[in-house]
C-alpha cells in the first residue's frame, strides 16, 4: 500500500511542479475550532535545489488528461506513466505533512479526465473533506477547471483559500497554435464568475461577521514565458489586463522548461529563460507596488525588457529629465522611482529625514544600493555627481561596477545587439 502511494506521489508531484504558484498568504483563517492549522502571512517551509520555495503540497489528483496541449507534460499524446490519487489518499498526505510542519497546506491541480465537471467535483471533494471532517484550517489552493459549472465553482470557493486558472499562453493566437482544443472563453468564464462572487461575498462579510469566507486569498493565474513568440509587452499588457479586469492577486510567470521536440516549441536542451522571467517579475512589482504604469515600462518603442539592467533602471535611463531627485525633499512616489531604492529603504528615508538631513553615509546605512542610486539623487553632501553624464555612460559605469548574479553563468541568453 505504502509503496503504491510512494510511486503515485512521485509521478503526480513531478507533473505538478511546472505550476509555479507557491503563495500561501493572503488568507486569514483562524484555528477557532481547536482543529489543525491556520493561515496568515504564509511560510516557505523549504526550498528546492533550483531555489524555488516549497510551501504547499503541490500535486495533481491525476495526470490522465483528455487534452493535448503542446507545452504540457501531461498532454494526451505524451508517453509517460499515468496515475491517480484517491480522495482519501490526498487527505491523509495533507494531514500528515501538515502535522509535521512540512507544509502550509495543499495545492491541488488535476489533469482533465472525462470532463470539466467530473474533475472539478473531485477536487472540491478533497477540500470539503479536509475542512469538514478533519477540521483542517490550513491553506487550500484549488485549480479551477476551465468549463466547470458555476455551482461547483461556488462550492470550491467555500472551502478553498485561493482558486486559479492558468491562461498559460499570453496571446490568443499563441493558444490557438499550441492548444487548439482549448479556448480563452472557457478559461475566463469561471474566473469571471469567481470575481463577481468574491466581491459579493466580501460585501456580505462586511455586513454580517458570521458570513462564510469565500476564497479569501482570491484568484491567481500563470503564463508560460518563451514557449511562443510573444514579446514582453504582450505578456505584461495581458497581465495588466488580468490584474485590472479580474482583480487577480497574482500573475505568475513561468520560464518554459523544454519538455518535447514539438516543432512549434523551443527544442529540448534549449535553456530556460530565467533572466527574462526575473525581469518580468520585476516589472510586475513595479506595476503593483511602485506606482508605474505598464506603458511607461513597455511600449511600441520598447517591446522587450533589457536583460542586462533592471526595468526601473531602464526606465530611469530613458527619462533622465526626471532626475536628479532630492532625497531630503521629494515625495514618496518620486523616491520609489529611483533605481537602487526599494520599498523598505524608501519608507526609511521618509521617516529618517524628519529628524535630520540625510547624507550618503545615512543612505548607505539605510540600505540603498548607491552604485545605482548615486546618478539619480542629490542629498545633504557636497560630493555629488557633477558631470553631465549621458544615458550610455551611466549604463556603462553601473554595469562595470556590478556583477549580475543572474547573468554570470548564462551569457548565451544575451542577444548581441
Amino acid at each position: 500500500m505504502s509503496e503504491r502511494v510512494r510511486e503515485k506521489l512521485n509521478i503526480l508531484a513531478d507533473a505538478a511542479k511546472y505550476d509555479v504558484s507557491c503563495s500561501s498568504s493572503g488568507s486569514n483563517r483562524k484555528n477557532n475550532n481547536k482543529g489543525l492549522g491556520d493561515t496568515g502571512g504564509g511560510i516557505c517551509h523549504t526550498y528546492t535545489e533550483d531555489g524555488r520555495c516549497v510551501s504547499l503540497l503541490k500535486i495533481l489528483l491525476t495526470n490522465f488528461c483528455i487534452y493535448d496541449c503542446a507545452y504540457c507534460v501531461t498532454r494526451k499524446s505524451n508517453d509517460i506513466k499515468r496515475a491517480a490519487f484517491t480522495v482519501q489518499e490526498v487527505v491523509d498526505l495533507t494531514m500528515n505533512f501538515y502535522r509535521r510542519n512540512y507544509i502550509e497546506g495543499l495545492f491541488l491541480s488535476s489533469g482533465i479526465f472525462k470532463n470539466a465537471d467530473y474533475t472539478m467535483e473531485r477536487l472540491v471533494q478533497v477540500a470539503k473533506k479536509l475542512r469538514t471532517e478533519h477540521k483542517f484550517n490550513g491553506y487550500i489552493h484549488l485549480k479551477s477547471i476551465p468549463g466547470a459549472s458555476d455551482e461547483l465553482m461556488h462550492e470550491a470557493g467555500l472551502y478553498a483559500d485561493r482558486l486559479s486558472i492558468n491562461i498559460e499562453i499570453p496571446t490568443e493566437s499563441g493558444l490557438k497554435l499550441l492548444a487548439p482544443e482549448k479556448n480563452r472563453k472557457d478559461m475566463i468564464a469561471p474566473m469571471n464568475y469567481l470575481k463577481e462572487e468574491i466581491i459579493a461575498k466580501k460585501e456580505e462579510k462586511r455586513l454580517f461577521k458570521k458570513a462564510p469566507m469565500f476564497a479569501p486569498a482570491g484568484q491567481s493565474t500563470q503564463m508560460i514565458i518563451g514557449a511562443g513568440k510573444e514579446t514582453d509587452r504582450d505578456i505584461m499588457y495581458t497581465a495588466d489586463k488580468f490584474y485590472r479586469g479580474f482583480q487577480l492577486k497574482r500573475v505568475y510567470y513561468s520560464g518554459y522548461v523544454p519538455i518535447s521536440n514539438d516543432s512549434r516549441l523551443p527544442g529540448l536542451g534549449s535553456s530556460v529563460p530565467m533572466v527574462r522571467e526575473n525581469r518580468l517579475y520585476q516589472t510586475d512589482w513595479l506595476m503593483r507596488f511602485y506606482g508605474f504604469n505598464v506603458r511607461e515600462l513597455l511600449n511600441d518603442a520598447n517591446p522587450h525588457l533589457d536583460l542586462e539592467i533592471d526595468p526601473k533602471l531602464g526606465w530611469a535611463l530613458r527619462n533622465l529629465n526626471c532626475f536628479p531627485i532630492d532625497i531630503n525633499k521629494a515625495d514618496l512616489h518620486l523616491i520609489l522611482r529611483v533605481p537602487g531604492i526599494g520599498m523598505q529603504s524608501a519608507h526609511k528615508i521618509i521617516s529618517a529625514r524628519k529628524f535630520h538631513k540625510l547624507s550618503w553615509e545615512h543612505l548607505k546605512k539605510i540600505g540603498v544600493a548607491l552604485n545605482r542610486a548615486k546618478y539619480f539623487i542629490i542629498c545633504n553632501s557636497n560630493e555629488m555627481e557633477r558631470r553631465d553624464l549621458t544615458e550610455t555612460k551611466i549604463r556603462q559605469f553601473i554595469l562595470a561596477g556590478s556583477e549580475s548574479k543572474y547573468l554570470k553563468n548564462s551569457i548565451q541568453q544575451l542577444s548581441l545587439f
Binding site: 511542479k17 492549522g37 517551509h45 528546492t48 535545489e49 535630520h356
Partner: protein, 252 residues
C-alpha cells in the same frame, strides 16, 4: 565608568536600566555575570533582579514608545549578541529622555542597530517557524529539536500553540537546553536531561508511520525540483547549511 552585572534575563536587564537611573550613573555599561571579565580600574555592581523595578522601566518605555519599538527592544535582547545590552541601554535612554518619538530616527546608531538586530531575530524566528520538523513518537508526541542562532523560542510559542492546537508537541532548543511543551491545553517551559535515558533502547521511540512520511516527504522534495533550473547559490541562501541537520528533506 561602572559595569552593572545582570543575570541574563529580560527582567534583569530592565532592572539594570532602572538602577542606572536610580543611582544616577552617567557612564555605565551592562554585562552579565558569566561573561564579565573584571577590570582593576573599573567599578562593577551586581544587579538584583526585581520585578517591580523592571515593570516600572517597562511602563516608562511603553508610555513613550510604540508597542512596535518595545517589541523590537525585546527581540534585540533575545539576540544575545555581545554588547547588545549597551545598545538597548542607549536606545532606552534616547526614548526616555526625548519628548517626541525617536524610534524612526535611524541617524542615531542605537536606533538603527536595534532595528537591524530585531530584524535579524525576526528572520530567525520566521526561519524556525518554517524549518521546524516534527517527528511523531510512539506515544503520539510531535517532537522537534532546534538549534537557532538566537533565542527565539519565546517568539515562536504563540504561532505553534495556535496552529497545532489538536496535537501534543514539544520543541526543544538543544543549544540553550530548554524547550516548550504543549499538552493540548497550555504551553509550559521544560528542561530535559537527555543523558539519563541514553542507555535505553532507541528503536521504538518513533511511531510506526513516522518512517513512511519522512520517506514520502523526501521523495516529494526530490520530485518538485526542476533539474534544468538548478541554482545552488539561491538554494543555499534560502536554506543555509547550518539548518540542514534538523531538516528531514536534507538528510540522506
Amino acid at each position: 565608568m561602572v559595569t552593572l552585572l545582570y543575570d541574563k534575563t529580560w527582567q534583569g536587564l530592565l532592572t539594570a536600566i532602572f538602577d542606572i537611573y536610580d543611582r544616577k550613573f552617567s557612564l555605565a555599561s551592562i554585562d552579565y555575570t558569566e561573561r564579565f571579565q573584571p577590570d582593576v580600574f573599573a567599578k562593577h555592581v551586581e544587579v538584583i533582579t526585581d520585578d517591580i523595578k523592571a515593570s516600572r522601566v517597562m511602563a516608562g518605555l511603553q508610555r513613550k514608545a510604540s508597542a512596535e519599538a518595545v517589541k523590537n527592544i525585546y527581540a534585540a535582547f533575545l539576540s544575545e549578541l555581545p554588547g547588545i545590552e549597551n545598545t538597548i541601554l542607549a536606545y532606552a535612554r534616547l526614548i526616555l529622555s526625548s519628548n517626541q518619538s525617536i524610534e524612526h530616527a535611524y541617524g542615531h546608531s542605537a536606533v538603527l542597530k536595534v532595528s537591524q538586530v530585531a530584524r535579524m531575530v525576526h528572520r530567525e524566528k520566521h526561519r524556525m517557524e518554517a524549518f521546524i520538523r516534527f517527528k511523531l513518537t510512539s506515544d503520539n508526541l510531535f517532537y522537534a529539536a532546534i538549534e537557532p542562532d538566537f533565542n527565539v523560542i519565546p517568539l515562536i510559542l504563540t504561532h505553534f500553540r495556535r496552529r497545532y492546537a489538536d496535537q501534543r508537541w514539544l520543541i526543544y532548543d538543544l543549544k540553550r537546553k530548554y524547550g516548550i511543551y504543549y499538552n493540548l491545553l497550555t504551553v509550559e517551559e521544560i528542561t530535559i536531561d537527555f543523558n539519563q535515558n541514553a542507555g535505553e533502547a532507541t528503536t521504538n521511540v518513533f511511531h510506526e508511520d513516522e518512517d513512511l512520511y519522512q520517506t514520502l516527504w523526501k521523495d516529494y522534495f526530490k520530485s518538485v525540483n526542476i533539474g534544468a533550473r538548478k541554482n545552488t547559490r539561491l538554494h543555499l541562501r534560502h536554506v543555509p547549511k547550518r539548518y540542514w541537520k534538523h531538516l528531514t528533506e536534507k538528510l540522506l
